[in-house]
Symmetry: C2
């Protein structure tokens, strides 16, 4: 069986267009700090009319193949996680086949996986399993997470965002799965869902969703610790991992989540936390589970005592989610990309725990073990290729009014047919795909921006058949 199966390479793409949360706050008439401190967010990236989840995934997969010099014929599996539905039957994966068909490779397994923000994790697990299975044919897999998170006007709107991530999967990976260390919790809940099929916007119960997230985290952590103890013969605590990466709808929830794990450690084995924590958390040890989710005092105390550990084990993972916003399926992996960006080679030998959550609900806590790896599949090269700092720096800030205007246009465009876009790709980096047209039969047409923007109109056009 293939060994050290995991992530060999990564690429991330987010739209260059964004709004400052501080400005959005003022524009919305929200109290100062509501989005920046209350949610813990800095900026929000969004697709304009020339971008969507298909264009973003075309961009990120093409970039992955080009930057790591992977021959498209070396790909044997390609799968997508997304909750941004443009077509209810035709998968995003089939749009991506355009990249491979032109090289004569159509023998590529995998389709789309769906459950809210968890679809990318499901796809990732499936791809790793494929490499470890008898069906593996020795080629690489690619997992794509692509989403555009948009909300109706109101309190949820500042929790939007957009991005696509592509991960190359294979054996002997610098980012390898510890497959036996995994805790999963799935349940039937209506915390966030998309039953209004004609609208891109979800139905959200923010308060319920936060409680579901924390309850799922508790349960996954319990299973995870149980498996660890069975395997390793000793109790697991936060000190047994170097970094914790969370699905990040907004940063404040990540702070609460890490505090919650510390509270779990305290309840399970008080000696695993320091004296200050023991003292401050003691008062809450008799709360029932339900009470503990509602207690603002516990929230405050646990965040306070976990702050030093948060700063070392979590803070390095928060850059992109804070700068881009919620990216649904891509959020967790954008947080992980932030860690690679911040720490790159220092991560060799480290254990990183990831928590994936999708409303509805599906959640898994799982473990990765990192090694430096061999060029081009090395931690340092992955960080170089992703160029997170460069991408953040070359963005274009939109005033809130223009953001709201764009959202309005996008509402009309969602599910629509028979229109041509502005084809304005002046804000896009070279190599970025963009939407040019949706014809009267709903068929979507994309083009790729060449080296300079004047060449947009002559960019290589990707046709529907």
């Amino acid at each position: 069986m293939a060994k050290n199966v995991g992530i060999l390479a990564m690429e991330i793409y987010f739209p260059p267009t964004f709004v400052q949360q501080e400005e959005l706050e003022a524009h919305d008439g929200a109290s100062k700090g509501k989005y920046t401190i209350g949610l813990g967010q800095d900026c929000l990236a969004f697709c304009t009319e020339v971008e969507d989840v298909i264009s973003m995934s075309l961009t990120v997969v093409t970039s992955l193949l080009e930057k790591y010099k992977i021959d498209p014929r070396q790909i044997g599996r390609l799968e997508v996680g997304s909750e941004t539905v443009i077509d209810k039957s035709k998968s995003i994966k089939t749009f991506l086949m355009q990249i491979f068909e032109k090289c004569g490779n159509t023998d590529i397994e995998g389709v789309d996986s769906t459950n809210a923000c968890y679809g990318g994790t499901a796809a990732l697990f499936n791809c790793v399993n494929w490499v470890e299975s008898r069906s593996w044919d020795g080629r690489y897999g690619i997992v794509v997470c692509t989403d555009s998170a948009v909300y109706a006007e109101g309190p949820a709107r500042p929790t939007g965002g957009a991005a696509a991530i592509a991960m190359l999967i294979g054996p002997d990976a610098p980012i390898a799965f510890e497959s036996k260390l995994r805790g999963t919790h799935m349940s039937h809940v209506y915390d966030f869902y998309k039953p209004n099929l004609a609208s891109e916007y979800p139905v959200v119960d923010g308060k319920l969703s936060q409680t579901c997230y924390l309850m799922a985290l508790d349960t996954c952590y319990k299973y995870f610790c149980h498996k660890y103890e069975k395997l390793e013969g000793k109790q697991f605590s936060l000190s047994d991992a170097d970094y914790f990466v969370f699905h990040s709808p907004y940063n404040k929830l990540v702070q609460k989540s890490f505090a919650r794990l510390l509270f779990n450690d305290f309840l399970r084995n008080a000696s695993s936390v320091d004296d200050t924590a023991k003292e401050k958390l003691g008062a809450f040890s008799t709360l029932t589970g339900d009470e503990s989710y509602q207690s603002r005092d516990l929230e405050k105390a646990s965040q306070q005592v976990s702050k030093p550990l948060y700063d070392t084990k979590v803070q390095p993972t928060t850059l992109i989610p804070k700068q881009v916003g919620n990216m649904y399926t891509a959020s967790l992996y954008a947080a992980f990309a932030s860690l690679l960006h911040n720490k790159n080679s220092e991560l060799a030998g480290k254990r990183v725990i990831l928590f994936s959550y999708g409303s509805g609900l599906t959640a898994t806590l799982f473990s990765l073990r990192l090694h430096e790896g061999q060029h081009p599949f090395s931690l340092s090269n992955i960080a170089t290729v992703m160029d997170v700092a460069g991408k953040l720096k070359s963005r274009h800030e939109f005033p809130p009014g223009k953001f709201v205007e764009t959202m309005k246009l996008m509402e009309h465009r969602y599910g629509a047919k028979d229109f041509v876009t502005s084809k304005d790709c002046s804000l896009l980096s070279p190599g970025t795909y963009y939407l040019t047209e949706v014809d009267p039969m709903y068929r979507r047409f994309y083009a790729r921006k060449d080296g300079n923007c004047s060449a947009c109109e002559n960019g290589s056009v990707v046709n529907g058949h």
Copy 2:
């Protein structure tokens, strides 16, 4: 690594309500034989207002667990293939978690897989790979295929159908995968898709879809034969497998498909077909690929010469698809269930080749090797449990007018909220789940019919949270 991984057990459910194709033909004013001979279909099953893809999947999973006496805690993975979207974010899988949560089992991986009729095959491959991977925890997996195929009034409407299938996955299976024998072809095409999000109906180009299906079949067969020859050191031909099972939008396409495989054998190695076939097909050997898909003469000649082989290698797989109609993701496995029903224990030692096709497009040709197996996971017990004959016999025929009326009601119900159904489960078998209500927040409520229908209203109610 786990050995002989595959299907341990199966259950099938289709709505008890159906219309005769012969009557629909007359009702629609179509020429006599258009649906029965032209499409090769006998009946069409459909959901009334009390059934949908969620209720059908609740029914089939519960029945699978009960009839094979599987403790729900023994399930470690559950995944769904479907293209009938009721919610764009919340997976059908999470609805099924209700069955497991009440037994305290929430540690179950897997979500929904989507690409048209191929989603079930993707889920099946994923589940088999899981059992063969390091992530496997020794428990069983379940794969569910559930779809309701409905079309706008017009020529495609008689190609509807509805069903759900559940398959139990694990090692030492009577229906084991030959994982190395597999040919996949995926491509970006708009042959059938669902871009009109507010409508349940697809956009279909029937002629293009048929050509895409046959082209995909050719390509998959080419890859499959290539892999077989590399592994076995000899050419593959139809004589190397005992049965061929096809995704079946309508039976006529299955006839054409098998004929096409024989034509492939003839082109690749004329000595693998008999003298009559050689003689009749000779005239077509110089056609280009495109020409060959358009040639009615070739279609006729190849169907004629393949008829004897079709009768032995394909006809036993056609019962349910002809009686129920297209079941999208469930179609291929309903055809396979027909084979188990017709041949059960005789299948021990046989090789069965399956062709899965999903528009958009994604397709795989793959191989299963059958063994009698040990009770309750034996071929004969699977046939007994599925009770295909009993289920077909206990159906209720609707006149075409009532079918059209039901389709109209369902159009209004699709994507709707705030309504209560008739709760009339008089036509449903005991143990069947049915939809009772969709509340103002779009939350769906189901109940299960008890032993007799008078107890419907007191059936165990499955609530949204």
